[in-house]
Amino acid sequence: MNENNVKEDKLVIGGHEFHSRFILGSGKYSLSLIEAAVNYAGAEIITCAVRRANTKEQENILDFIPKGVTLLPNTSGARNADEAVRIARLARELGCGNFVKIEIMRDTKYLLPDNSETVKATEILAKEGFVVMPYMYPDLNTARDLVNAGAASVMPLASPIGSNKGLATRDFIQILIDEIDLPIIVDAGIGRPSQACEAMEMGAAAVMSNTALATAGDLPMMASAFKQAVEAGRKAYLSGLGRVLTRGASPSDTLTGFLHD
């Protein structure tokens, strides 16, 4: 894999190709900063809560999203599959396109996704022609169910939303990366560029972040830092990470040196 190959490296979701592997959230900072964040992050996909877009003319978040960026409306506020389906349909009516990120929470404290309801909603919406990107708790069985339900990607959480705690579910995300053929996009809890980089090194297809940028002192600069971290992590993954010696140095006298034939 050389630099040219890296340029050809594309993220494909539901038949759509993207060069950027950093997905941006939009809900936690000033609308006026969205454009700068998109530009500095080099993002090609931006998420937006349908409920935030359900507004009058005053300052509709949709008006602040630059042209050419793929809008990924999410169903936050949905407490079950039925509500998520209704919100997704509304997003399409509002002209938000065919992409939808399913978020179903029935817990307002931790905002953990409800995996079983998410599978149900995915199945219904995929049949209706949506490009479905479900947010989920990293569980292999659920991920397989999502594949069968027609998901276009799987978005496991790294740690609770807004916590900035990084890859608390690292080992389980690795299992999804190893076993699931769809793009695995790490979502929620990524608080630093270094954590985004690590997720990409593991083989994640993309990383999504919102709070980490929203709470940064200089949002555009942090967006730029994430861009570079995600790119670095991706390159490291593509180049094949060097071996890591788990214990001491490599022994010169091998254990099997006595074998002669």
Partner: protein
């Protein structure tokens, strides 16, 4: 010095005055405030006992500075830590508490602040709550808006740009029944994205009906969680029943509402205990109904018409800030609303630490939005529940919040 709540009006008949004085001076003339009145539904919740037991055993003076320091170092703030943060020993740590509260707020809400406005549609009241401007013995201009007037008020407010509304009434089932409120809520759905109510507590079926009319959020203030004190402040009317009011939020959730809010009215009793109870009330509700969106307010006593001396006693702005920081650390995900009872400077400061929602363009009177918003003289207007402090208009508030580096959010809600 205690507030002097009792004020006689010259327009009361001798018989009414006699009754009023008897209620004020003779406890035996009052009903048992722990006994349900006819028609009041009992849901036999366990939350009441849980909250009351914690509050009863809470002695704020037992907590030391060391307890507060330890609490600040803990990653997860539990009930013990909350108690330390609400104690007098936490006052020297206010800046540190604010720093942590700010971080928690940012994690959950980023740099956003939600704006809303209240709309009072009637001020008739059947209760005698001694500190309230709407109380049935207070001589004020009473009014109930017709549906045409309600719609007119809503148009005026919606034209200002506001998208979230909180509909309020005095507590009179006779003058403003559930059907009347429901009709107003249906109208509100036409003009606003999000509709909440702050009305007298009702039964589960009534909350279900109001939810079907387009309401998803219910606010009820317990006023004080000190049952003995409550008895001396709410002398007559259905509001006198302490446990029925306590269970209102839970009945609302059972009726299908998405979110509930509550609080004590700070200054009526021991504010540290009342703050603890307020937080625990919402905490236990969310534990039992994990999908529920919970929110806390923090009203302090304000002067009312015919009694300008009412004040929040020992709850100063520092104490209020302490309480709100404690709420935020204990319930990082909860909404915190700061009303126009508080000053501009306090609200501008507190939204940067822990408040997530503020009102703007506020009137606590009836039918006076047009005159207040446009300067045009209105027809008859009903008097206000209390004096507000921060009278900024919606557009001024929007501008000011943006100026503070915050993103004002007018709506983040869908009725599904």
């Amino acid at each position: 010095m205690e507030n002097q709540f009792f004020v006689d009006s010259e327009s009361l008949s001798p018989k009414a005055l006699e009754k009023k004085h008897q209620l004020e001076t003779d406890p035996t003339s009052r009903t048992n405030h722990m006994e349900y009145m006819e028609g009041q539904e009992q849901i036999h919740s366990d939350i009441f006992e849980k909250v009351m037991t914690e509050v009863k055993n809470y002695d704020p003076s037992k907590y030391t500075g060391l307890d507060v320091e330890r609490a600040l170092k803990k990653e997860t703030i539990g009930i013990e830590e909350l108690k330390a943060f609400l104690s007098p020993s936490a006052e020297p740590f206010l800046e540190k508490m604010a720093e942590r509260a700010r971080l928690e707020t940012q994690k959950h809400f980023g740099n956003t602040v939600y704006l809303f406005t209240p709309l009072y549609i009637a001020n008739y009241c059947e209760n005698y709550c001694v500190y309230c401007g709407f109380n049935c013995y207070n001589h004020i201009r009473r009014m109930k808006l017709s549906m045409e007037q309600v719609e007119h008020e809503m148009k005026v407010i919606a034209d200002s740009g506001m998208e979230e509304i909180l509909i309020l009434t005095g507590e009179s089932k006779g003058m403003s029944d559930v059907k009347y409120i429901g009709e107003a809520c249906k109208l509100a759905r036409k003009y606003f994205r999000m509709v909440g109510i702050e009305i007298y507590p009702v039964n589960v079926e009534d909350y279900r009906y109001l939810h079907e009319c387009g309401v998803d959020y219910v606010t009820v203030f317990q006023e004080t969680y000190d049952s003995d004190k409550y008895e001396t402040l709410h002398l007559a009317g259905h509001k006198r029943v302490f446990p029925y009011r306590f269970d209102a939020q839970e009945r609302a959730l059972m009726g299908g509402m998405r979110g509930v809010a509550g609080s004590a009215l700070l200054g009526l009793s021991d504010f540290r205990k009342d703050a603890l109870a307020s937080a625990l009330h919402m905490y236990f509700l969310q534990r039992k109904y994990p999908h529920a969106e919970i929110s806390l307010s923090c009203p302090r006593l304000r002067p009312i018409i015919n009694n300008g001396k009412i004040n929040p006693q020992d709850v100063g702005e520092r104490q209020l800030c302490q309480i709100l920081c404690a709420y935020r650390m204990f319930l990082p995900f909860a909404g915190i609303t700061v009303s126009s009872r508080e000053s501009k400077s306090f609200r501008d400061g507190i939204v940067k630490i822990c408040a997530t929602k503020i009102s703007a363009g506020v009137s606590t009177g009836i039918g006076d939005h047009e005159s207040k918003y446009t300067g045009k003289e209105g027809d008859a207007e009903g008097d206000e529940q209390f004096e507000i402090n921060d009278s900024r208009s919606f557009s001024q508030m929007y501008e000011d919040m943006s100026g503070e580096g915050l993103q004002p959010v007018l709506n983040d809600y869908l009725y599904v």
